[in-house]
Symmetry: C2
Subunit: 303 residues, 2 copies
DNA sequence: TGACTGCAATATGGAAAACCTATCGAACTG
DNA sequence: CAGTTCGATAGGTTTTCCATATTGCAGTCA
């Protein structure tokens, strides 16, 4: 059996006339006659009782028509659904973000996204890089915003921007008197860090030439917010990604935020997804939109 | 789109493996791959996200699969329905019968019919010949038992038997003393008839060489039963089809029933149907069954 | 590191199907 | 009785579908 045949049968049932049904189906009458006959032979029943001047539907034909109509109905619904989903921008996009980026980047783009691509619905998830990559590989996420190279042949990346690290130190700190901060000025022994697993932790340690194994596990914050509270309370210094900077930190907690004169004191943020992910256009649109709404504290990478 | 393609999609969804899905669908892997790809192109969406070592269903694919499953389900139900209806003996057969035959023939065959063809369900309708033929032509009946040639190129007939007419006269009647009844003995002027429209009326008039127009509309019965009551009450005589004979008439109403020695004092009963009626086997089965269960008062026509 | 394996995609040629035009045969129409 | 209508049939062409062979990629094992 064949969907085409079902449509032919419905046409004949509608017109009760092979010629008109053929015309409405955009085929010749012999073609339609042949297909109807073929289908009747396959099913082993007569659907239409036809003579030279009349076409009548048999009782069993009437019953079969009910099914045929349902089938065609379902198929059309299916095609409509596909058509509605053709736009890669339409539908939910499951996006993961690292915790040191999400709370600061997403507020910048959610409103513009709703304005420019109202049909693209982000489903957000905040987790550390390794978990995000796992979810990507398991098709539990469609894309992720991370700050390290994905390092997986199955994944692709769209570089978005380079985000400099700023130095955060307590108001009463010797560095307060320095105009410019260079690499050797970094107070490595007073460095406060996030918990392990956050890419920021490794990156800050890298900038400070600290070894992974070299302790520094006495005081670990679980979020940037906590970390800043610690700095404000005078427990030490840290490096903060530019997007996380907020003037309220200075006023509320007395933290001083400073640009630094250190090459590579930055991280590259990228959008990653499986190479096989079919909605490449959605990724591109998202990447461009993020790029357009970045503040000048970061350096955009043109797409 | 194509039902075959839908089955391919379902197979891939089940196995998450093109090779295995192809094997289960009894086609080669390239064939299946090609059809899936063709369908994805047609629908404009990706159903499977596939790499060298994994096949995953996209969210939109998952939605489409729901429809695909429903469609295949419906099609299979349709095929099952057709298969169940393949037997021409199965299902209702709408049968019309003339009133001078139905009440006497049907009791003879209904039980044997249920025994031999339990799946063949007769839907009976009793009407005069002209109405039965109209219903046949309008596909409101499938077949009819009548006693005149259908005289319609669209109809076919299966002759069943010749049914002699018997003479019915009141007990106290001059003919009582005659051993044999010949044509010239018929009491034409005392003849009682059924209403117009009954084929029996014309046939009896024919046997008696009475003109259609020649009156005889003073006393008309609406059924054979009434007619016999009239005969029993001494209003006149009539000719009765052999199957209608019942011993109770003699005992209850005092009617005398006599064979007659008249050529053509009989009617041919046949099963008629549209030439295009597809369940020819059902007709043949019914005809043979009727034939097998006739009493010896009629002359069977071997089929 | 190099042969081997597993998997989907691609290339190419052959078979089946669907389709077309032309025509037939039957029956109705003027 | 010619003309028309309608479904069925005949014969040939095109499209679609399918199979075998091959490619390309990524693991796996020796």
């Amino acid at each position: 059996m064949n969907l085409r045949d079902l449509r032919y049968v419905l046409a004949v049932a509608e017109f009760r006339h092979f010629g008109k049904a053929a015309e409405a189906s955009f085929v010749s009458q012999p073609t339609l006659s042949g297909q109807i006959k073929k289908m009747e032979d396959e099913l082993g029943v007569t659907i239409f009782e036809r003579s030279n001047r009349s076409v009548e539907i048999t009782p069993i034909g009437e019953q079969l028509l009910i099914y045929a109509r349902r089938v065609i109905e379902q198929v059309e619904a299916m095609e409509n659904l596909a058509k509605a989903a053709q736009d890669p921008l339409a539908g939910p996009l499951r996006l993961g973000v690292i915790p040191t980026l999400g709370p600061y980047l997403m507020p910048l783009i959610l409103l513009p996204l709703r304005k420019d691509f109202p049909q693209l619905h982000l489903v957000l998830r905040e987790e550390i890089t390794s978990l995000l990559l796992d979810h990507l590989r398991r098709h539990e996420l469609d894309a992720a915003l991370i700050a390290t190279p994905p390092d997986d042949d199955d994944l692709q990346e769209i570089p978005l921007f380079d985000e400099p690290f700023w130095l955060a130190h307590p108001a009463k700190h010797p560095l307060y008197n320095k105009d410019e901060i260079y690499e050797e000025d970094l107070p490595v022994d007073q460095l406060l860090l996030l918990a392990d697993g956050h890419c920021l932790t490794e990156q800050v340690m890298g900038v400070c030439h600290l070894d992974q194994s070299a302790g520094h596990d006495d005081l670990r914050a679980s979020s940037l917010e906590t970390l800043m509270q610690l700095v404000g309370a005078g427990f030490g210094c840290t490096l903060v990604p530019a997007l996380a900077l907020r003037s309220s930190w200075a006023t509320d907690t007395g933290v001083i935020l400073r640009q630094v004169n250190i090459a590579n004191a930055e991280r590259r943020v990228r959008l990653v997804a499986r190479k096989t992910f079919p909605r490449a256009l959605a990724l591109k649109a998202l990447a461009r939109l993020i790029n357009r709404h970045l503040p000048n504290t970061v350096r955009r990478i043109e797409i």
